[in-house]
Symmetry: C2
Subunit: 594 residues, 2 copies
Amino acid sequence: MMMAASASSSSSSSAAEVDQSSDNLRPPASVCDGWYGVAHGCTRKLGMKICGFLQKNNSLEEKSRMVGSFREKEQSHNRENREKESRFTHTETDFSNLFARDLLPAKNGEEPTMQFLLEVMEILTNYVRKTFDRSTKVLDFHHPHQLLEGIEGFNLELCDQPESLEQILVDCRDTLKYGVRTGHPRFFNQLSTGLDIIGLAGEWLTSTANTNMFTYEIAPVFVLMEQLTLKKMREIIGWPNGEGDGLFSPGGAISNMYSVMIARYKYFPEVKTKGMSAAPRLILFTSEHSHYSIAKAGAALGFGKENVILLSTDERGRVIPADLEAKIINAKQKGYVPLFVNATAGTTVYGAFDPINDIADICEKYNIWLHVDGAWGGSLLMSRKHRHKLNGVERANSVTWNPHKMMGVPLQCSAILVREKGILQGCNSMCAGYLFQPDKQYDVTYDTGDKAIQCGRHVDIFKFWLMWKAKGTVGFEQHVDRCLEVSEYLYNKIKNREGYQMVFQGEPQHTNVCFWYIPPSMRNMLDGEERRERLHKVAPKIKAMMMECGTTMVGYQPQGDKVNFFRMVISNHAATKSDIDFLIEEIERLGQDL
Amino acid sequence: MMMAASASSSSSSSAAEVDQSSDNLRPPASVCDGWYGVAHGCTRKLGMKICGFLQKNNSLEEKSRMVGSFREKEQSHNRENREKESRFTHTETDFSNLFARDLLPAKNGEEPTMQFLLEVMEILTNYVRKTFDRSTKVLDFHHPHQLLEGIEGFNLELCDQPESLEQILVDCRDTLKYGVRTGHPRFFNQLSTGLDIIGLAGEWLTSTANTNMFTYEIAPVFVLMEQLTLKKMREIIGWPNGEGDGLFSPGGAISNMYSVMIARYKYFPEVKTKGMSAAPRLILFTSEHSHYSIAKAGAALGFGKENVILLSTDERGRVIPADLEAKIINAKQKGYVPLFVNATAGTTVYGAFDPINDIADICEKYNIWLHVDGAWGGSLLMSRKHRHKLNGVERANSVTWNPHKMMGVPLQCSAILVREKGILQGCNSMCAGYLFQPDKQYDVTYDTGDKAIQCGRHVDIFKFWLMWKAKGTVGFEQHVDRCLEVSEYLYNKIKNREGYQMVFQGEPQHTNVCFWYIPPSMRNMLDGEERRERLHKVAPKIKAMMMECGTTMVGYQPQGDKVNFFRMVISNHAATKSDIDFLIEEIERLGQDL
């Protein structure tokens, strides 16, 4: 009856600690019998009583010591860990005769598990360290067929029989070796760059917790973090009291798809039940510079691509409001119903911000849903200096905002934010009984899964929440301001430099700097088809050489009738002005003889 | 000219190593000038030459030593790491005056970064170790309002100012403390349970690589791993030569949504352009026991929920083929077009397998797309003993298969597999020029992003690929067989036990064991409304107490006219027969006085 004794003493040490050898947490019947009489109607308190002896830190004294004393708590944690972890100093281990089956939950699996994880950790920290080291290449380029053939024994094929942990560790190293260092200070290829250490730690923890966002039941902390963070984002958008709704989704394209779905549900809720045939011909509007996900959503959701009307833009890639109004009127004249307007805050290529207030005026006039796709530019809301570029965003019905882009949060982290409460739920709920039981013991409004088009949903919130804690709102502001400053430096450096031609005139609104590099051999060529054709090939050639050198990476693309040009973007907090200098020198080095 | 000297020597040590202090990888012009003459038409080779001096292991001698000698390579890696990493032994660090801004890329940020990450690692390995320790609780339950109020100083609110790294570490510990241990041997609450150590290492690496699946350019290794793994899965399904297509998507619901989209595109490709009005009224069929994501997809994609016809099932939850045929005929008589049939391989609640061959016969007869939702049951294909339950799956046009469920892969990992090549691309492509440039230097058919409805796509493949390497196909087979064995043990234990009533008769097809626990006070009650009402409340009460005790977790739900019952599922490789014994004793302990 040792356990019973420790239970009744209600000491701060748990039964688990007293009897470490026990394989069974269940208290003996004699202890618990007395509690059952009060079970009905108050299970929670009962539970707390029954299980009191299982809980750590349940004495009042200990609690009061903990609350408000982080430092002390931390130190106590440290002490505790040190004692328990002392066994797991990283020692030389021969992994050649160890296999996955030898790891936990295998008998005696703790030691090899810890050693294996510490070895993995060493590989990863090593990689992190080198990522920030400019003497390391951004990538070690190989063609698909080369990797498929198995370079230096790196064999991608899957086998029937297991490989040793030694080989698994080699596979991990090789995977990193032949990959791309997206956190390298000279990786400019994507809107998402950089390797944030706090975010990384957050992702590691998320992986370790390995849970799912659909219910409070199995993700209590993450569900609440999501709610609080989304509220904060809505406050920053400017919706009264941060009211509204939202979700983190698997990327900006899905967030944009949500916005279209919700708009349809708002105006034509019967489509959920009856399908698109229950609605008139519905029209979506988005600029020709906007992200292709709006057209993709139009195709997927049954509107049809040709009912996604592309709006003309000015030379900077911003929607011309008069064109929107004309096209709305035109659609109405044909008997169609304008449903949805997407205003982009930060286009993918030019980084342009559509004039939200002007667009909102038109949407209000014609009673149309206004969505702001701020996947790329939404983060400028964090900056007092730059947020004016999104003036009017508070008038939007929904907003896409990807912290995994301009805020440096690791992939994936995209929010869809909705001004009207309840509509996400109304649009998507199917009331699956096996998941969302109404008769749970807690407030089930925290079970958010039925709002999503997904069932299981990856935990994307923790890394973001942790970064916000660690940097504060001001830290994100500094990050945004700094990236824009670096891009301004690039713009000023090349706008009048010989051999460069800007794709559009004037200072960019975001960190996108779009330009052609003109090799010396072309500088005296007259404009015309031949020059266009040659220029079209310059960026791809330079890019290919960059990748094979592994020194830096920057994107290029054509846009409309404009031939291939470079699009520089900066979202990496590791990138400095000297990296910009390097990039320009590198372009000139590689391109001078083209 | 030190760099030039080292470049021309083409030694096995890289320039980077020779000149660690250099902030600039660019070779001086004098070295490179000679190469430019041959630049045109052969950029790849040129690149290799220009950059040869930047690459490690580029001497022939060193290469030959590496190839085929993993052991040696491993040891050399170890040596290298040990030398470089010796600085980063985990030392006591005072994090109270350190902030995120002190970490990399900050000047002198390397040491605090490494110490911080090692500290995080200690928290995580500690958590992993305890997860497998049965004396640890599965969860430490608190109500939403309790966590929101800030338990023991765990403050979820976000602030303007940064917190110290010491506080961040406390936040990490608290996040884990108040979460749910989904890897605990006694966590049976979800289809996805368990904490696979290799998968965990894979996720950590994925987070560290922090890249995106849309192009080969920035995820060369992961893109190839995805291709090879999907091909292997198609081979296992039984499609000739593993031909076909596929993607990893953010969960089974999205995979199922893909299947509906592709089916529509196959038969009515004009919907992509013109919308649902271009097609007749299209009908989807799925069983009343199937996952709600089929209905969700029907609603989202513009079919309408009422055009998702639910099929009747037998008492075991399996589709009755005759009912399908009758409903197809009925729809056709009304002038509607039957488009799509979903056969579930492993239903969520009963674990039932629809008779695929019978359904395939009907689909062929009426020319209807056959999808098999094997999110839960697809993994039985890995078992020679159990794969017969999916007989006929090779006749499906598309298959959903979630390795993150029955194969123990960490969340998220769901595949949509398609028999016909090219159709995914046709259905979803929008040809975004800024991302999918046709004029890249490599084979751009490896850029898979335009097949997806997402733009950016999380790297879900690596952990799965690594687990496959580490366990082999046989390892997955053992996992599946073992889980089914444990569930068979549970079924045999309770099928005739006093106080238990099975929800359906006969041995379950999957690991789902569905049962009512009848408290002693109800055992002599006659069937009727009063008994039903009381029984309906038993499972929720026991579940609530379980959660508050934190000893175990198992799901419950009603189904059709059946009141709340427990649904046990086993997918955790850590769960043993003794854990089943524990669960049963726990249910009886908590339920005996209800």
